[in-house]
Amino acid sequence: MSSLSILAVLLIAGVVAYFVGRIRSVKVCKGEQSTLHSRPTYHGFYLAVWTVLLAVFVLTVWSAAERPVQNYLAMKKMPASVLETSDAQKSLTMSVVDSIATGLPKLTAEEREIVRKARYGFVTPADARDVLARHGVILGSAPEPYVLAAADDLAISRALAATILPIVCFLVAAAGFLWGYTRLAPKLRARNIVESVMRWGLLAASTVAVLTTIGIVLSVLFETIHFFQMVPPQDFFFGTVWDPRFSSVGRAGGAQGQFGLLPLLWGTMFISIVALLVAVPVGLFAAIYMSEYAGPRVRTFSKPVLEILAGIPTIVYGFFALVTFGPFLRDTGAHIGLDISASSVLTAGIVMGVMIIPFVSSLSDDIMSAVPQSLREGSYGLGATQSETIKRVILPAALPGIVGAILLAASRAVGETMIVVLAAGIAANLTLNPLEPVTTITVKIVSQLTGDLEFNSPQTLVAFALGLTLFVITLGLNVYALYIVRRYREQYE
């Protein structure tokens, strides 16, 4: 019985307990509901909570602990020759054991007997391998008897756990139910108890966001430290050559790649700068027009339409840049004698710039609209035209907020992936020419992590170091932007 079906049964039991609790509560007050402290519904919930909560807790802990405990026990029984090998080798052995153990239950009784004989050396391991292959467990070489022994024991203990777990869960549920049932009484403060359980539930839900952040930081940091054990940090942060080569794990003296961050960082910055050169003037002027000139009708129409630009999935922009905008720029360049490659800084930068226009325009618009009317009127009173008022009064007053908006847009541009994956190119160039392709941090994260993964090669782990760099950069930009925006808002409130 899988954990999910146990959970489903427990939930059904909870519903039953709810109705039992309701009926029982009416009975214990002998039909006079005014003598009950809490209404029957809460008695129902009270009983359901006692029935389900403990059992689900047991189920969760068991499911989380089962695998590691079993694997640990299996590993302990391995011969010394295996225990002396490296961690990578051990996990490889364990994965073979795991796949055999997963396949064993599919075998018929006779076939299982063959495997068992192979375990004790009555038949050759090759026979066991053939039997297993018939059921989709393909092994590279004939398994050692100790591997078969471990797998056999593992399969038995798994089967045992699978029978015991539902029994334990249902016993706990029954015990909880009985305990709750005996406590049902008119004076029971069922509502308060149920409400405090719910409150704890809400608190738990709100910590998921914090756990996610901790998860991001820990997981990325952990793999990054792993990476820095293989490649020194100064080579990563100050290296000017990006040439990771192919994974060379297990091959002594294999090609050691070079993991210089600088070309990627420059590419990311270069494209972001081009994007901001498009987005800042366009977004700012659009915001000025919407907040200062446009009537309410144009404003209510144009703001959401402009925001569509931020709602279009970035893969769509990437595709557009790849098949339409890149070739268009290349052909235009050819006309006027410029050699623009189809995927260049310019292509990716301009398309990305369009994508982040709304990030600049919407926030700037809000901030400019928040500048008090008295400042405008004071300026008009001195004889300034509208544009002079905007340039000399509104923009300086709104400047911190606008800078915040631009920083937020910049952080979006730095973290953007799909446009650059499709339109920026993959060669890590340190170039100042916007007509050439460059590559970015995000592109390299994607290219290092698609395909076969080995979690112990620097070629894979470097993606996490890149991810951490990206996370720190965007977090810094955001925190600073929010700080600026918040400080500015306090001025007028």
Binding site: R199, A209, Y293, S302, Q386, M418, V446
Partner: protein, 437 residues
């Protein structure tokens, strides 16, 4: 002195420097205003160009060229043993040959000429056998009979009829030879070749030839992921928002959560992919390419969006209602369950849909967890390998064959259609149900 007075220009009135300066200032005013209009128009124009190119490139993907053939299910080819119950034989038979034979008859091909035969073969899709095989396996009594079928033409034939292959290019440099063009034109005249609605685009799985590639697996994968997000991120997000708005006292912990959510909303999506790879796949041992993992990652990603939207909706419930409920003796939980949640439901739904829209269009984190997979068969559970709609677009966009560009644009149209529908529902909810207090 009097001379000097005559040369002094008047300080106001026509021709005075002030007037000239004023004119300049007014011109600057007009220019400034024009820049604003231009900026807005630039944004609008880009939208129009973007949608225009995608639709003009993509609409042809919704029709696909098929050839009408009367197929003779030759027993010698399909079932040489003569035993129609031998499923293995039926599954292994060379159905392509049946379609080719039928085509030779239509085109009057000289079957002894190998070159000519090959040229005719190239008119048919490499996937024709699947259609015929399914028909025979379903109903073995077809063997020995002749039936009419519309079978798929190859992507080059399709491209020629859709006009994306230029007939004027030289024979050697064209993907379709002169001989093939003659045949195709003849079939067009005989009405045995036509563009039919492309259901394959919506039901087929991955394929290496564009004409048989479809979004079926991607649609199912995306549906599983949306389901996961709806079942996981929505209850968690609403619960978290309720706690923060209704219970959290202004203390350190609440501050930490608050700052956290704001920053989490701005973390690049690709970093969530790294989290998913490290935690769900490497640490918890969930399978790669599974839509469950994709759904989990997208849930974490959309959680801040849903929390922020829900908090705004809860905040909009006026204090008078809270006070009235508390005044007649409701507990905090009763206040929430009976009043706050029902009243803020439209806002919560809108926020939820916006979160789902964001999740549906997201590609980058899914690349990290191995959703870039060649999946032919429909996944039946969220634990089986599948792809997602935007990932399928990415894979087709990077495919080499020309036919895939049309498919990519078509798939993009499908994705955008979903997003537009979902956004419209959100806008409808906002207008129809949201109350102004």
């Amino acid at each position: 002195m009097t001379d000097q007075a005559a040369t002094i220009t008047p300080s106001f009135g026509p021709g005075s420097p002030a007037t000239a300066k004023l004119r300049k200032r007014h011109a600057a005013e007009k220019r400034f205003r024009l820049y604003g209009i231009l900026a807005l128009l630039f944004g609008f124009m880009f939208l129009v160009v973007l949608f225009g190119t995608i639709i003009s490139k993509g609409w042809t993907a919704f029709v696909q060229t098929s050839i009408h053939l009367s197929i003779y299910f030759d027993p010698a080819v399909v079932n040489p043993s003569g035993n129609p119950d031998d499923r293995d034989e039926l599954l292994r038979a060379d159905y392509t040959k049946l379609a080719r034979n039928a085509l030779y008859k239509v085109l009057d091909v000289n079957t002894d000429d190998r070159k000519e035969r090959r040229a005719a073969n190239d008119l048919l899709s490499r996937g024709v056998d699947v259609q015929l095989k399914d028909a025979v396996v379903d109903d073995p009594s077809l063997i020995g009979q002749t039936r009419e079928y519309w079978v798929l033409a190859s992507d080059n034939t399709d491209a020629l009829l859709k006009g994306s292959i230029d007939r004027k290019t030289l024979n050697e440099r064209r993907a379709v030879s002169d001989q093939q063009i003659v045949w195709i034109d003849q079939m067009v005249k005989d009405d045995v070749i036509e563009k039919r609605f492309n259901t394959g685009l919506f039901v087929n799985g991955a394929s290496s030839s564009p004409e048989t590639a479809g979004l079926g697996v991607a649609l199912i994968g995306s549906a599983f992921m949306m389901l996961t997000v709806a079942l996981l991120a929505v209850p968690l997000g609403v619960a978290a928002a309720l706690y923060l708005e209704e219970f959290a006292t202004k203390n350190r912990w609440a501050d930490i959560i608050e700052v956290n959510i704001n920053n989490l909303a701005a973390v690049p999506s690709i970093v969530f992919g790294l989290l998913g790879l490290a935690v769900f796949i490497n640490f918890l041992g969930l399978p790669r390419s599974a839509s469950l993992v994709g759904g989990l990652v997208l849930s974490l990603m959309t959680l801040p969006t849903i929390i922020i939207a829900t908090r705004a909706a809860i905040k909009a419930v006026p204090p008078s209602i809270r006070e009235a409920a508390l005044g007649v003796g409701a507990s905090k939980m009763q206040l929430i369950g009976h009043h706050v949640l029902p009243l803020s439901l439209p806002g919560i739904l809108t926020g939820t849909i916006i979160g789902l829209v964001q999740a549906l269009g997201e590609t980058a984190p899914l690349l990290m967890i191995g959703m870039v997979a060649f999946v032919v068969d429909y996944p039946t559970t969220p634990l089986e390998p599948s792809t997602a709609l935007p990932v399928q677009i990415y894979m087709w966009a990077t495919a080499a064959e020309r036919g895939f560009i049309e498919r990519t644009a078509g798939a993009t149209m499908v994705l955008l259609a979903f997003l537009i529908v979902m956004n419209s529902v959100a806008v409808y909810f906002r207008h129809r149900f949201e109350r102004k207090w």
